[in-house]
Symmetry: C2
Subunit: 181 residues, 2 copies
């Protein structure tokens, strides 16, 4: 059972507000700490979500519609979030993420994709053949993987404070760290 | 580095709004499906959060302050969420969770706990000795473990739709399932 486009878009519409409600005006002790060297803070994750709105989703749908399998997507730059976060506050990033998402959902609507369009195939530089349908579902799942990650990063900050309860808190035992975003 | 009471309370104040923004008015295909037999849907998780507001947090702080290590907490009933969800809509559950959380944070404030109170020890029926400080941090971490879980349950609904991208989505590989809530 795959989510319908309508259901995918509903989720994409909700997640920026959820991340905003979670993080805005929360103390820095929650939002600016990470899980150790070469890991991201919640602040960095929001920068990454912005970067993906610019480069990963609508541009890749357009790429498939234009090139099909003849040319692979450009590779995603995993360090791109640093461009987005430099000199910004978390509040500014949350505003920017919400603005871009709204804009991109508007573009997706005007594309007026038909059922046969979801089967159109493109070429991912490392995953090989993917469809427009895969891409749109991944857009939504990507929000979820980063909400999952933000929850885990924040829980990491109180891993010692919870004492013996650590054993019962699944988030403290999560190995679902993304190989790549 | 343990979160201060102020930081813990800030998170406890934010999470009901985040879960509300994520789930309210989202299609049932996201909120009512689970991860298979004997697992919870996001709807069930909100019921569990309500149940915990009633039985797990403030009542256990009061229990420690009253009995110390002389009497263990009453065991938590993992099926208690069914009492909370029966005949309710998700919107009603989200309202109820927000209302109870606000009320409980008010009670916590009026307790006016002092630094030495966080070291006071109680007895968990299976974990043994725990402190008031452990309990309060666990309250916050418990919100995070269930936000982590909700993200994972929802991602599970599109595990096939994402196609080859499943490999890159950490949430699809999470083993951080709570042994007990």
């Amino acid at each position: 059972m795959n989510p319908s486009l309508e259901d995918t878009m509903a989720l994409l519409d909700h997640t920026p507000a959820a991340i905003n409600a979670l993080l805005r005006d929360l103390p820095d002790s929650w939002t600016s700490r990470n899980e150790g060297e070469n890991t991201w803070s919640p602040f960095d994750v929001v920068g990454h979500l912005i970067d993906c709105e610019h480069t990963n989703w609508i541009p890749r749908v357009e790429w498939i519609l234009q090139y099909g399998e003849t040319q692979p997507f450009r590779r995603f730059d995993r360090g791109g979030h640093a461009r987005e976060t430099a000199g910004k506050t978390l509040g500014q990033l949350l505003d920017e993420f919400a603005r871009l998402r709204l804009q991109n959902l508007g573009i997706l609507s005007t594309m007026n994709l038909q059922p046969e369009d979801f089967e159109r195939r493109g070429l991912h530089p490392s995953l090989g053949v993917v469809t427009v349908g895969n891409l749109l579902s991944t857009w939504a799942a990507h929000d979820l993987t980063h909400l999952h990650q933000i929850s885990r990063i924040m829980a990491y900050q109180c891993r010692e404070a919870v004492g013996p309860w650590q054993r019962f808190l699944g988030v403290m035992h999560c190995t679902g760290h993304s190989e790549q975003a």
